[in-house]
């Protein structure tokens, strides 16, 4: 069923390839070749998947509790801000202390960014979809202000960018001379950790119960408000860690365009991964395969790279439907 959904997405996307006067098989061939057929392609795909796994996990865990966190982008930037503030000379610590400190601080910042909309939801019934979305814009404008003001790298001339992360704060590379850094391992650990949490712990049970039925969960003695807050801290925290890893592992310094929408794509990742933490890993790698492959394919065939976004969007919609149909069959069996 799932494969059927993906196949439908690819089939429909091929209309766009034909529109661009290119060969469908050739284009798809080049996408997978570009992303997976070389050492460079594979490491690039995994590097690209690193932030997506984490923003995907952030969305997945929140959606499990029906906390519609669309603010992954803002929380991601909160993480990058923390890493930049503490990691560009503010703290002088050995590497084995500085890196965890930055990660924890980023998690805290991301978590707090989601805490506000969550409290508003729990207390005043304010729709968190809209508040998290709007906060993204506020946070990014705030980052923009900092990059042109207090955090601006004095040697960067006109460019609004921050000073580089100190050497002790940089995440080591996994494979030399590639862009694949140890943030990928962090992402995998988080995925496994969240999987255990969701399926095997009391908190995970509570998160799922609140997501399925806050009323019944409340009746069972689960404190729904506290559970939502814990979920928010987890979700925002993981998105914040994504930001930390991207600054300290890949880029080395903060710019305003460090995220090409990782927070938003994370939502797609979560949905395609069916909100399962391990599914998120698979879906993040799948989506970054499409992105990296399409980048390389478009250089050869001159097809706009936005094709990748279209494929991903279609994949979500079709996979959703196929899951729905599967469930429907079970229920009406």
């Amino acid at each position: 069923m799932l494969a059927g959904g993906l196949a439908a997405a690819f089939a429909l996307s091929s209309v766009l390839i034909v529109w661009a006067d290119a060969g469908v098989w050739e284009a798809y061939g080049l996408i997978f070749k570009g992303a997976l057929a070389s050492r460079f392609g594979i490491t690039e795909t995994l590097a690209r998947s690193t932030p997506l796994i984490m923003t995907g996990l952030a969305a997945a865990i929140a959606f499990r509790a029906k906390l519609w966190n669309i603010g992954g982008e803002g929380q991601f930037y909160m993480g990058t801000l923390m890493a930049t503030w503490l990691g560009t000379g503010f703290l002088t610590l050995p590497s084995y202390l500085l890196v965890p400190t930055l990660i924890l601080a980023g998690a805290l910042a991301g978590g707090l960014a989601l805490l506000l909309p969550t409290l508003l939801k729990a207390r005043y019934k304010v729709d968190e979809v809209v508040t998290t979305l709007l906060l993204n814009f506020v946070i990014i404008l705030f980052v923009s202000f900092l990059l042109e003001g207090p955090l601006k790298d004095p040697v960067s001339l006109g460019w609004p960018q921050a000073s580089p992360i100190v050497d002790n704060g940089v995440l080591p590379l996994l494979i030399a001379k590639t862009r694949l850094h140890s943030g990928f391992v962090v992402a995998l650990c988080l995925a496994v950790g969240l999987w255990v949490l969701v399926s095997r712990t009391k908190l995970g049970y509570e998160i799922r119960a609140v997501g399925h039925s806050p009323q019944a969960a409340g009746f069972a003695g689960i404190n729904t408000r506290a559970t939502l807050i814990k979920t928010a801290l987890l979700s925002g925290g993981v998105a914040g860690i994504a930001g930390v890893c991207e600054v300290t592992g890949l880029k080395g310094y903060l710019t305003l365009d460090i995220s090409p929408g990782f927070g938003y794509t994370g939502i797609a990742v979560a949905m395609l991964g069916l909100l399962h933490p391990l599914g998120v890993v698979v879906s993040a790698i799948f989506i970054s395969t499409i992105f990296v492959g399409t980048d390389s394919m478009s250089r050869t065939l001159n097809i706009p790279t936005y094709l990748a976004d279209v494929i991903v969007a279609l994949a979500i919609l079709f996979v959703l439907v196929s899951v729905l149909l599967t469930r429907y069959r079970i229920v009406t069996r």
């Binding site: 995970g204 799922r208 997501g211 399925h212 039925s213 009323q215 019944a216 009746f219 069972a220």
Partner: protein, 515 residues
Amino acid sequence: MRSNKDRPQGGAVPIALKMTGITKRFGALVASDQVSLELGEGEILSLFGENGAGKTTLMNILFGHYTADAGNIEVFSKPLVGGNTKAALDAGIGMVHQHFALGENLTVLENICLGNEPLWSLRFGGVRLADKARQIAQRCGFEVDLDRPVHTLSIGEKQRVEIVKALYRDAKILVLDEPTAVLTPQEAEGLFEVLRHLSTEGLAVIFISHKLKEIMAVSDRICVLRHGRVVLEVTRAEADPDEIAKAMVGQELKPAVRTRLEPGSTLLSLEAVAKKVDQGALGLQEASFTLREREILGITGVSGNGQQELGDILNGITKPDSGHIDWSALNTAGGDGDQLRRDGVARIPADRHAEGVISGMTVWENVISHSLGKFSKNGLLSFDSAQEHSQQLCTSYDVRYDSLHAEVQQLSGGNIQKLILARELSDQPRVIIAVQPTRGLDVGAVDAVHRRLLEMREKGAGVLLITEDLDELFALSDQIAVIYKGKLSPFYSAERLTLKNIGRMMSGFEIATPA
């Protein structure tokens, strides 16, 4: 009561509705099995049967919500196309559902007029529509401002809106599905009055109920359904209540017996517990009473008079604004639901689907939902022991399921309720708060619930029963109180109360204290 009404003899009454051989299957279940019935103009036909006997299914087929697998329907000698609500409406069939089909934020008039004009017409009929609606409302003895939003009406008024709505569409056949479930006995009598009046004007009425007294009061003819089949059809004149009751259940059911017990020491006492509620609802005015060991206190009232608030407060869902609940006999301070459960309070919620179980989670997860602490160690859930525990409980409480890992909403209502009982009663609770514990269950399941509650009483528990089912109230309670507009009456010994007393109290009259 209405024997003096003139009625043409024999076949002289024109046939309004003729259903022949209606069959409907849901999977393996035959919800309607070769049902045939006839209804004459101006006749009131009661469909009688327990929950799940196929009454509602049959009417849903008539109304086009379901398509029958076999059978024919003729309305005024014209065949009715199945599975088409609009065709049913056009043929003159009106239906008042158990759950009202009203838009709460729309006005009475808007609710009545919806769907009567071509959708693409540029404007409402305005005054013309309102006049017609007002006339019909008068015929039904219903005086209310048509521009009021529906959410400001009482339950009884909402039901009248439903009837007016149907008549507005020139319904010749009116179907009422369990219309008295939400009414006081007096309100129900008022409804019967209106139905009798309308039937003399030629309206054919199908009255669905599982209350024997009502159908004896209102019907011309009675049709008993069981397991989707018509098992008995009699005119009221020749109807024998015992025979009908027997036909409904299929065998004689011995009701659970309540033995006489001497109440023990106090378990719980309320002193002037009050709760204000926002607009519309009535809240709870200073309620005081004590619950003792080995007794069942029954509280009843028309739905929406404060029993919900009382239940929520005792269940730890909401906090009272003032007053004091003394839990000291249980060594607990009260507080949140989880704490209450651990200290020996069992809670059976009113809405078993929305509150009692977590839809979307599995059977076993729901069995342990109130004892997460017991099955987790350092935050990790112990799957094996939780599942084993769930399986044992389900077996001993006769919960039937396909798999422990099936989602709980796939169970039937009766099985869900048994699951809740299993979860709540297995820890030997000392106080049981049961809100509407048997609503919507079939006779067998009702009996099981009653037996469990009486068994717990014999073991020494105190039970607070909040119910709107008066038969249940009398079957179980030692003491009875009525709640009206948020005010709780004193408790009276059940033996000294009559149905009539209760009915008067439910409509707000004081009764002379039965000594």
